[in-house]
């Protein structure tokens, strides 16, 4: 500042000079943290040596010797700890991705219902949000698992659901579809339908740009993608059979088995996160000013296109960032699986593997690295989205 006027900078003692001060503070901070880290590492090495725990990642290829109740990839008690890690990670990703789908559907529905003019409906939706948000997720999971699913009748008194499904306290057993060879034609028809729909949409856009005439894109696309494969499916003689779950003396064999642990976790996570998503959606829609709707009406747009072309695109700009946060929260919360015994990453790896190997540092570090990677990828994608769609103001 003083330099700008051409006068010499006044001499300040280094203690009071902000540049010196900040340099000293930063060096001190680095030293303190380095000292803490050094202390932690030497202590850990001492403690591990005393407890005779090997360090390093050699355990990764040793035989695990425990069983896992739900596996998406082949796994036996002879598999390695590394294999167990992948089983756990895939189970986490499965429950998280299904949870995200369900939570989004329920959340958007409740969020929109909260804005309904119908007082009864909006109050009910608000009550759902208020109650679910104010109860701990763990309590809800324990409730669904212990008080609802584990309280279902036992094997002998299983509830049979029309269509061949069986429900008891060991889980839900669904018929497993087995597709015949003619299914290939149906898949081919579906592929052709998708390509046709994209081509038709492209053609319709060009036609509208040239002549101004609109074409029924939605109905044509729907019939190409859904109706065409359906017709082929029926024409091919319905090439699908179901493997019904068979009630044995001690167990149920065949069919698709959905474990109560999985069901409780999926149910609890979806219902809990949906309450938060509902608030995000409500706030997002309310953030679009009423004037936008009025302007669209005055231009002659009907309510449907107004919602689709004017309100929702602007609301999405407000909704998407907190929505991604909720998706992340759901993924992180799936680690509560450990409380009800669903074999997710934390239960399998940080629970069983850690207990068996005692290699706390490596196991906890890997688990944290996985969740951090998921978080960083998500926030990276989010930043890309924001850069593309953020409101550009002058």
């Amino acid at each position: 500042m003083a330099d700008a006027r051409g006068t010499a900078r006044p001499q300040v003692s280094p203690i009071n000079d902000p540049r010196w001060r900040s340099a000293i503070v930063q060096v001190l901070l680095c030293l303190v943290i380095a000292w803490l880290a050094y202390g932690a590492i030497t202590n850990a090495a001492d403690n591990l040596a005393r407890a005779r725990i090997a360090s390093g990642f050699d355990f990764w290829n040793s035989t695990a010797g425990f069983d896992i109740s739900q596996t998406l990839i082949p796994y036996t008690t002879q598999s390695t700890y590394g294999r167990a890690f992948w089983v756990g990670l895939l189970n986490t990703l499965l429950v998280a991705s299904l949870g995200i789908v369900f939570a989004t559907i329920i959340g958007f529905a409740i969020g929109i219902l909260q804005l309904s003019k119908n007082v009864l409906v909006s109050r009910l939706a608000a009550a759902y949000v208020e109650i679910i948000r104010n109860l701990p997720l763990l309590l809800q999971l324990l409730f669904w698992y212990n008080a609802v699913l584990k309280a279902l009748p036992n094997l002998r008194e299983s509830i049979t659901i029309p269509g061949g499904a069986v429900l008891n306290n060991r889980g839900l057993f669904l018929p497993r579809p087995i597709f015949g060879g003619a299914m290939d034609f149906v898949l081919a028809a579906f592929g052709l339908g998708v390509i046709g729909a994209i081509a038709f949409r492209h053609w319709a856009r060009r036609r509208q740009a040239l002549t101004g005439e609109q074409s029924p894109v939605f109905i044509v696309a729907l019939s190409l993608i859904v109706v065409l494969p359906l017709v082929v499916f029926v024409a091919a003689g319905i090439p699908v059979t179901f493997e019904q779950p068979e009630m044995g003396r001690f167990n149920i064999s065949g069919g698709i088995e959905i474990l109560p642990e999985f069901a409780a976790l999926l149910f609890g996570l979806s219902i809990y996160t949906a309450a938060f998503i509902a608030e995000v959606v409500r706030a997002g829609i309310q953030a679009v000013s009423q004037g936008q709707t009025e302007a669209a009406f005055s231009l002659g747009l009907r309510p449907g296109p107004t919602l689709r072309l004017i309100v929702i695109p602007q609301a999405m700009r407000v909704i998407v960032p907190p929505l991604t946060n909720q998706y992340l929260n759901l993924t992180k919360n799936s680690s509560l699986a450990v409380a009800i015994g669903y074999p997710d990453l934390v239960q399998v790896f940080t629970g069983t593997v850690l207990n068996q190997t005692g290699q706390a540092v490596e196991v906890v570090a890997i688990t944290m690295a996985v969740y951090l990677t998921i978080s960083l990828i998500t926030s990276g994608l989010m930043n890309l989205y924001n850069r593309r769609f953020a409101l550009k103001e002058r």
């Binding site: 503070v25 901070l29 403690n47 324990l142 906890v364 944290m368 978080s375």
Partner: protein
Amino acid sequence: MASANSSFVRTTPVPAMAPPERERGMVGWLRDNLLSSPINIALTLASLWLLYLIIPSLLNFLVLDATWTGHDRTACLMTPERPHVGACWPFVWERINFFTYGFYPANERWRVNIFFVLLVVGIVWLLKRRMPYKKFGAIYFFILLPIVSIMLLLGFPPLGLSYVATSLWGGIMVTVVVSAVGIVFSLPLGIILALGRRSTMPVVRLFSVIFIEFVRGVPLITVLFMASVMLPLFVPESWSPDKLLRALIGVALFAAAYMAEVVRAGLQGIPRGQYEGAEALGLGYWKMMGLIILPQALRITIPNIVNSNIALFKDTTLVFIVGIFDFLRTIEVARIDPKWATPITSTTGYAFAAIFYFLCCWMMSRYARGVETRLVTRNRRRK
């Protein structure tokens, strides 16, 4: 006689007619809100059906069919005379001390009660408007109360308070201790981290960002696991921190990272002019922050601080997973007790826990909303 082209103009306005009968009152309201279109009618019917499903069964379970007296499971069993049984309240009455104090010695429980009273005094002092000496309230809550509480709960032999190991602590008391520690430590730590994140010193900023993003990127469970299995490894063997203390450290660090982001949002809400004004007065960094910026930033973030405390209060249930005997854990232990084992014991336990957690969180969120409306109206008046 008037000429043909003369016209009559009223000099007084015609009194407004009442709106049509069916637009008014009960009927109008019903037509407007519940029956305005076919979809609306369908939604109304669906809601009524939902209410019909939920309310009577909830009322039956909690009140009408519930058992109110008894000494063991036989009172709550389904019998031919009582085909419908609701909540088993005698189970909760008998276990209420266990739910509140865990295994804390019975003749020392008055100490826990005093702790509860002191805590409530602190909370009311800080949160209620127009309470005198707010500054002393803050000193009381953030410095005095923690020291007195440790002496009371853990014991202080010079004053005749015998030592009670933390392994005997349990129930609501532990839930309150864990959340209180989280809240008391997360605010100052969070402020420091938030200031660090906005600092001009690159090293300070880097460490703050790494800590905040690292803790926020992983689930609380893994932070707790880290505190409970890795912390003992990182310190000399002779220290070997207590199990509860490890969980408390984990919760405090976790809450601090979230609080840092809340405070940062508040700091960003303060206009530049405030900083410039403080600098123009010649205030240094700490005086500027302590006297001008932080008081304003914290005031506008009170609702968010309370919301973050609600989340923390719910999240404290997770200490159950690393083996701390909190309220939820006492419910889990009590519900499988053979003395009370009936088909509805679990549901009763969970219903009791749900009522407790809901009331606590709901009151906090009411408070946050109240502050929010107050801030909005005050800002509006100033314009």
